[in-house]
Symmetry: C2
Subunit: 491 residues, 2 copies
């Protein structure tokens, strides 16, 4: 099977690229840095969306939609936001094309220049807070708990499918609160929603914590993040939740009358995850045979493949297969019966392995005789023969087992690749030669973080919430430190 | 109640604008022509999306995602498409901003000019067929049945919330087929999906038919459409499905090896509905008290309002209300219990009428004593007292009744406002003074259609599929005609 893909151990990066293409997840488009998300990849994204959307609604949020375009001047309103976002972005300057005088094509009509250029949203804080200004007068209008599913554009120079693309899909929550405490609580709540989703749907254990000042979102007072470890030992930021203080309320003059009748600025959060999660999902679990999908996000959880010669055999097998399909579906599973006669079973087996379908059932003529089916699981690539009458209950349990096993494997991997060190040479050696998470002391200064980054390409991923108080000396400067922080090279 | 809204009979257009704003559906944004879809409006759009998406999947389609940007040159490839679409559109010319030398804001970096301008998609045929070129080699790769949910931009000069906006949300299906017959069948199938959705979810009866050449989609060989009649007598095109022939396959050189081993161009369809449907939904049923929502698309189907003095009463009422809510939800209905103490029952009644919630239950202390509740329906504004033990079954039936009544009312309205005439003066009089659908003979020439449009502002909405063969004379020129076509002024 390895023939499909570059070997993961030889060239992880090429293995990833191969996998995204070969498993029909996404491809590059004719537009630099913009991807096409293919139907199978999009079906996984739809599963991610559906589950997250349920969680957002269960925590009281509603969806809305704000404009794709943002007037250029909006970016200048919040000082640090403009530094962070109004740089590499797509700028709309004209609103009309006209026929070329040669008659052969179209050209931009120089007469149709916009008075003020529009920016294709890289994130929507500015346009949303400009809107909230009209929605909020009194504390009775608060909180506003709104989420948006949308496309955004950041003009990245070096792009990789799902991980870093000029256009990507995401959700961005934007909430408005009457008090600092409530906004802080909201930012933490949504980080927990993300962490819960990563663990219990994506089977990816994550470290929750806050970002250092250097890595903070432009315009935030505090950025919380979940960090995941990929199989090559690099970290991937899988979701962020920002406490924005009153920065955007001040920038867009959003004040409200509080319960004491006094005017005050509104408190804000924003939080988001993107199609980057697809990259995390692929990189965290997959192997040289292809994708390994956690059952709770797999668009197809069970595939049934008939093994037959001639129509008589197929007919008998199909009867059983369709019965099983229907029974499995009635038990809440998503099932595909692949009876295409254009492809051999061997091809189908390899293809569903490549696509990460958690469970494969094969049924041949001998199975029919013996009242059994063959059940193969994608995560371990093992097979068992199961009595037909037990198959529904067996597979229901099996999907749970697979979920637990994938999560367990990722958790063990992370544990084995998390290091504690107080020695700078060892730190450099781990970062350079082993990869993984390194918990080390840091003196708290942005300059030291920058220095470590320059020397090792490792950054502080988060200051973990659960990092205990522990006096120590900064791994680089020897200055005092109060607790360990999480270092790694990152995507 | 009428105080909220301009009277529908006095100024339909202002009534619509008021309603969209007051019912919290949408509002204009800071960006010319781009709307903000507010949470309540977006919740209705989510219901529309969910039901349509189910129907698309049930007919074998899958979702995918293609880039927001299209290289300018792509538009020139299909001759009539460029005429229709590459005109009023948003053009991205630069990819970077930089700090203004005054330090006060940001300006477009003149060094960051794109080699080729990018167009924000007004529709995606070109980028998608450029992609399909790599997906299709053989008849085995066909059909491709893909749909995309996306935002698109058409730089409209005169915009109205939902009905005509620069940016709007839509779905666009793009399918590829081995034969003309299959593509024609697909275009018809999807028109039927739209018609079924309009009738059975939106409660809007529609006329199915094909468009005249003048009204055809740019690049299509045939455009099929469903046309609905609004309460002011104007038509609204509620969905289109295009048979594109081999036009885009030829423009993007998409050939395949057919079953006979010969190369041929691929056959195409595209089909779409947009947030314009929201406009249709609002205009078709609503009244001077506000929105009237068909139960199958209402985000809240039943609202329960307590009428009480003091906490003792509220407690007893809440106990019953929460029990009813839970029972109704278990029967598949969406229910809100509004026990806010910041607003009086009268305010709540008016507000839920404004928002079109189909059923309102009010519970007061006397209801508790007598084992009853008051049930009000939005469509007729009537109330009944119902025994508590019968309430679940009653409301389940009531929602069906309301659905049928709204559909029936719209159907009757259309019938009463559909005219058959063979007299040009009468035709003009109907169009000018009554409004509605006019079934009249037409000689089949684009010039005559243009003439009629210039003289009356009425266009041929569709040549209805079910218009019987009937020899006659063109209403305008007197030349021979084979059947009547549907004229109206339109949104």
């Amino acid at each position: 099977m390895a023939k499909f893909l570059t070997n993961r151990e030889e060239n992880y990066s090429q293995w990833y690229n191969d996998l995204v293409i070969k498993a029909d997840l996404a491809e590059n488009s004719a537009v630099r840095g913009c991807m096409v998300i293919k139907p199978y990849g999009y079906a996984i994204w739809e599963r991610i969306q559906a589950e997250l959307d349920k969680k957002f609604k269960a925590t009281g949020h509603v969806n809305a939609y704000f404009p794709l375009f943002i007037p250029k001047s909006f970016f200048s309103r919040e000082a640090s936001h403009v530094e962070g976002f109004a740089k590499e972005c797509a700028v709309v300057t004209h609103y009309r094309l006209k026929n070329d005088h040669t008659g052969k094509g179209v050209i931009v009509d120089p007469e149709a220049r916009l008075e003020e250029e529009l920016i294709v949203r890289p994130t929507s804080e500015t346009i949303i807070w400009n809107t909230y200004k009209n929605w909020i007068q009194s504390y009775r209008d608060l909180p506003i708990l709104v989420n948006q599913w949308a496309n955004v554009v950041r003009w990245e120079m070096r792009t990789r499918l799902f991980l870093r693309t000029a256009e990507f899909l995401w959700q961005e929550g934007h909430t408005a609160h009457a008090t600092r405490e409530e906004a802080v609580e909201e930012a933490e709540k949504m980080l927990n929603v993300y962490a819960d989703f990563a663990t219990n749907y994506m089977c990816i254990p994550v470290i929750k914590g806050r970002k250092s000042v250097n890595e903070r979102f432009a315009g935030a007072e505090e950025t919380l993040a979940i960090e995941a470890l990929m199989q090559d030992g690099k970290a991937l930021q899988a979701g962020t939740s920002h406490f924005l203080g009153q920065n955007f309320a001040k920038a867009f003059d959003v004040q409200f009358t509080n319960q004491e009748g006094k005017l005050d600025y509104v408190w804000a959060t924003s939080w988001g995850v993107s199609t980057r999660l697809m990259g995390a999902l692929i990189m965290a679990h997959s192997d040289n045979n292809g994708l390994v999908l956690p059952p709770r996000l797999a668009p197809i959880q069970v595939v049934i493949v008939p093994i037959y010669k001639g129509n008589d055999q197929l007919e008998k097998i199909s009867e059983l297969a369709l019965k099983l399909k229907s029974d499995l579906e009635n038990s809440g599973m998503t099932v595909k019966y692949d009876d295409r006669d254009t492809h051999k079973p061997g091809f189908k087996f390899a293809d569903y392995e490549l696509k990460g379908v958690p469970v494969r059932i094969a049924i041949g003529p001998r199975d029919i005789e013996q009242g059994t089916v063959e059940v193969a699981r994608r995560d371990t690539l093992t097979k068992e023969t199961i009595k037909t009458e037990n198959v529904i209950a067996h597979i229901k349990n099996l999907l749970e087992d697979i979920h637990n096993n994938i999560l367990q494997k990722a958790t063990t991997f992370r544990k084995e690749n998390t290091y504690y060190t107080d020695n700078w040479d060892e730190f450099r050696d781990i970062i350079e030669n082993k990869g993984g998470f390194v918990m080390a002391h840091w003196d708290g200064s942005p300059e030291t973080e920058e220095l470590i980054k320059d020397e090792t390409k490792a950054t502080i991923r988060v200051i973990p919430f659960d990092s205990p108080d522990e006096e120590g000396k900064c791994i680089r400067t020897g200055r005092p430190s109060e607790r360990r922080v999480l270092f790694a090279r990152a995507y």
